[in-house]
Symmetry: C2
Subunit: 163 residues, 2 copies
């Protein structure tokens, strides 16, 4: 009964403690990025929601609180974050750039049913013959169906087995 701790964890999880605007402001300053208001809000969304949003998703959400915000501002700031290397760009799906403020090495799973992008823990990865290659970026991208979408599609799945 003592072993088997750590229950099975959800793949995408909000951070335990949300970042305050003050903390974000400090962090951006440390990184040599001036903490303008819109900029703070874009980063806040990335770091506190962790939903791997597209630029447009961020724009649509922020527009509710800041009706004057421009789509270009969101794109501009995301580009800046990429240059400064405080967020990473995900290309799980073509024509759908998504952004992630988590930089530690992990993979992504996109559900083709609901469209959500989940984090995937990577326990080990062994590659052949990369001596002398300088690896600057690594991306592991999976696609498929999450448990609930799979449940909803059970019928089709079984159909596939026969047909």
């Amino acid at each position: 009964m003592i072993t088997k701790m750590r229950a099975k964890t959800k793949l995408r999880k909000k951070p335990d403690k949300l970042w305050s605007l003050d903390e974000i402001s400090q962090f951006l300053s440390q990184q040599g990025i001036r903490p303008s208001f819109h900029r703070l809000k874009v980063f806040e969304y990335l770091i506190n929601e962790r939903t791997h949003p597209t630029a447009d998703e961020i724009y649509e959400v922020l527009k509710k609180e800041i009706p004057a915000i421009s789509r270009a501002t969101v794109y501009n700031n995301l580009r800046l974050f990429l240059e400064k290397q405080i967020v990473q760009l995900l290309n799980v799906e073509k024509n759908e750039a998504r952004y992630d403020a988590t930089l530690s090495w992990h993979g992504h799973f996109k559900c083709l049913g609901c469209g959500q992008v989940y984090d995937v823990g990577i326990e080990s990865l062994k590659l052949s013959w990369l001596d002398n290659y300088q690896v600057l970026e690594k991306h592991l991208d999976l696609k498929g169906l999450c448990p609930s979408c799979r449940e909803r599609n059970k019928f089709k799945e079984q159909e596939g087995l026969n047909g």
Copy 2:
């Protein structure tokens, strides 16, 4: 002297034997795809060159031999190949769809210097918590510098170590 066979292999390799148009025609027919001439040539390029080309690269090459060919035809046939699942789509780089007729599980390395896309062998990959998820696609995409581009950039690399 008997051990240590198999010298270090290049990451991207042309197939040992090129496919003839006849063999390709047969293969497409088997897959329920009618082997029109342009279609054959597009697939021939993918299967015999193995350079992970973009649609436009294929178009530019085929145009030399078939001046009347249309860019739309290349796109149409690539889309058909994807639907029929005889090629896979690579999203290593955003806004740069590349196509690969090798379907076995392997990763890709794109050199940021010369732009070439190499195959990477995957010896093992262990993921956490994907029970109940149905994985339909897996992509491992790396970016960096290949040995020769790295050599050419040695100066900059060392600069980075100091500055």
